[in-house]
């Protein structure tokens, strides 16, 4: 027995938390989350907001990877969500909250329409066509005067205060993003733990075999795509109103790459935990690197190369290996 085993057994397996202790811990954690934003610097508030939003988009991307396809259109879903709610609030005078829901739904509807077409293609062809869709959408918007053309839309209203939560400061945005992240995490945790996620993995792993068992591949692939579309769209809405301005330039290839980056950083075997871990690293690095703009793509690229080279299964898998709880332990 080496030192690591002592650590593991000593700390995790011999300590039994009573029900009260668990409750106290839970209250402390919730308290920390609620009070936290008031005590930390504005810069870190921003990092935490971006952490939530990139986590949501990363999880949504990863669920599409789970059905075996590598998509390159997260930016398009962010874009659809952002533009839908911006147009609704700015041009139609709709309040923020219905616009938030609508942004997610419209993005989901686009995913449905796009999904039934693009899932006829596989592999590289799928990747390319999803990317082309994102680019077409971006160029289409920049040519449409009603949507602000190349300059974009500015001055999106912030939601009204809810009790002590104000959206004129970053605290409110943090609570909103964090709530969305919780909803996303709950949804996809259930997806992963239930038959739905199992079917997705079956399809991703061996599509012909799954089909021979009576699984309608197209249905489940489109379903995963729509799920991803809705949640990415919601993140897009929050981004647009948090930044109070969007332009076609916000939705280039870069945000699509970031959603993949956060998922791969954390580790693709973990549908929820992977992107959540990856996104906190990305958001922090990005915030401190963004100051030296111009270097941003370089540093993100280096980060990706290092991770893929040294821990291809991501950070979580690496940590579990270090503490002797790798996936192999399952067998």
């Amino acid at each position: 027995m080496n030192i690591r085993d002592h650590f593991r057994i000593g700390v995790w397996e011999n300590v039994k938390l009573g029900r009260n202790a668990t409750l106290v811990a839970l209250i402390l954690i919730i308290g920390a989350i609620v009070a936290g934003p008031y005590f930390i610097a504005s810069r870190w508030q921003h990092i935490l907001i971006m952490w939530c939003l990139w986590s949501i988009a990363g999880i949504s991307w990863l669920v599409i990877l789970k059905v075996g396809e590598f998509s390159l259109c997260s930016a398009a879903f962010l874009c659809i969500g952002a533009y839908s709610s911006s147009v609704m609030t700015l041009k139609l005078g709709c309040p923020f909250w219905p616009a938030l829901i609508a942004g997610g739904l419209i993005s989901g509807i686009f995913a449905l329409a796009l999904g039934v077409v693009v899932f006829r293609l596989k592999g590289l062809y799928f990747l390319v066509i999803t990317y082309l869709f994102a680019e077409m959408l971006r160029l289409g918007i920049s040519l449409t005067g009603y949507l602000g053309g190349g300059t974009g839309l500015y001055g999106m209203p912030e939601p009204g205060n809810i009790g002590f939560i104000t959206f004129s400061t970053k605290q409110g945005w943090f609570y909103l993003s964090f709530l969305l992240l919780l909803i996303t995490a709950f949804t996809f945790r259930r997806v992963e733990a239930s038959r739905i996620g199992r079917v997705y993995s079956y399809i991703g792993m061996a599509p012909d075999l799954a089909e021979s068992l009576g699984v309608r591949i197209m249905k489940y692939k489109v379903q995963a795509f729509v799920l991803g579309g809705i949640f990415t769209g919601l993140a897009g809405v929050v981004m647009a109103h948090y930044f109070t301005g969007i332009s076609p330039e916000s939705f280039t290839l870069y945000p699509s790459l970031v959603t993949q980056l956060v998922a791969i950083l954390g580790g693709v075997p973990y549908l929820v935990a992977g992107p959540v871990v990856g996104a906190i690293i990305y958001s922090a690095v990005d915030e401190y690197v963004a100051a030296i703009s111009g270097l941003r793509p370089l540093i993100v690229g280096v980060l990706l190369v290092v991770i893929i080279f040294f821990m291809p299964q991501g950070i979580i898998s690496r940590l579990r290996q270090l503490f002797g709880k790798g996936r192999e332990a399952k067998s």
Binding site: T187, R190, V191, S194, R195, I196, R198, V199, S201, Y202, M205, A206, D208, L209, A210, E211, S212, L213, G214, V215, R216, I217, Q223, R327, K330, S331
Partner: protein, 254 residues
Amino acid sequence: MALLKSTGLCKYFGGVHAVDEVDFEVEKGEKVGLIGPNGAGKTTLFNVITGFLRADSGIVEYKGNNIVGLRADQVAQMGIARTFQIPVQFRGQTVFENLLAGHIKEERKNFWHALFNTRDYREEQERARQKALEVLEFVGLADWKDRLVDVLPDGLRRFLSLGRVLMMSPELLLLDEPLAGLSEEEISALLSKLDELQGQGTTIFMIEHRMKAVMRFCPRIMVLNYGRKIAEGSPTEVKDDPVVINAYLGTREG
């Protein structure tokens, strides 16, 4: 009425006639063997029947309904189960989870039930687990239940593939070389399982290269060569048929 019947079935790949004007019938409860040299079109025939390939002409009737043009998953829904020549598995999942995959076509509770873990959904999943335990016992993989399928020995993968299709409660089993790579003991074990299934009313149609075993197991054999059916009959009839001997050994020169 035959359970499965094809008339004038053709499948071409460019100029190659992979399946050429094949007519056959499989009666309910029968055990039929399909043999032929490599490249004879046996697997292609299975792929056409099960909807993985679309026939260029001809029809396949299952219980009197034409199933040409249906997708593979629709064919599976009708009660036709198939295994693959290479015993493909869902890697990274346990043996038990691999079995559960076979039950999906039986499950009716939709996305929302699964998402919110409703009582109906949980009951349905419980039934799937019960059935998987029975099947696990039947194919003799109980000791491997929670092991990853990646570590399962090759021989046992054939048993797992069989178990997975049994989860579908199929009426017709299309087995593509179920005995390939198995030892003598494993062959008799697998064949006795198949006999038991046939006793319960399952119809078995199998491609096989292990001649001794297939001749012993199937009372009726069909022979395919260059996409055409060249012989059909009892094992002894087929074995002594000069056309079949020619197909396997070639014509004697001079």
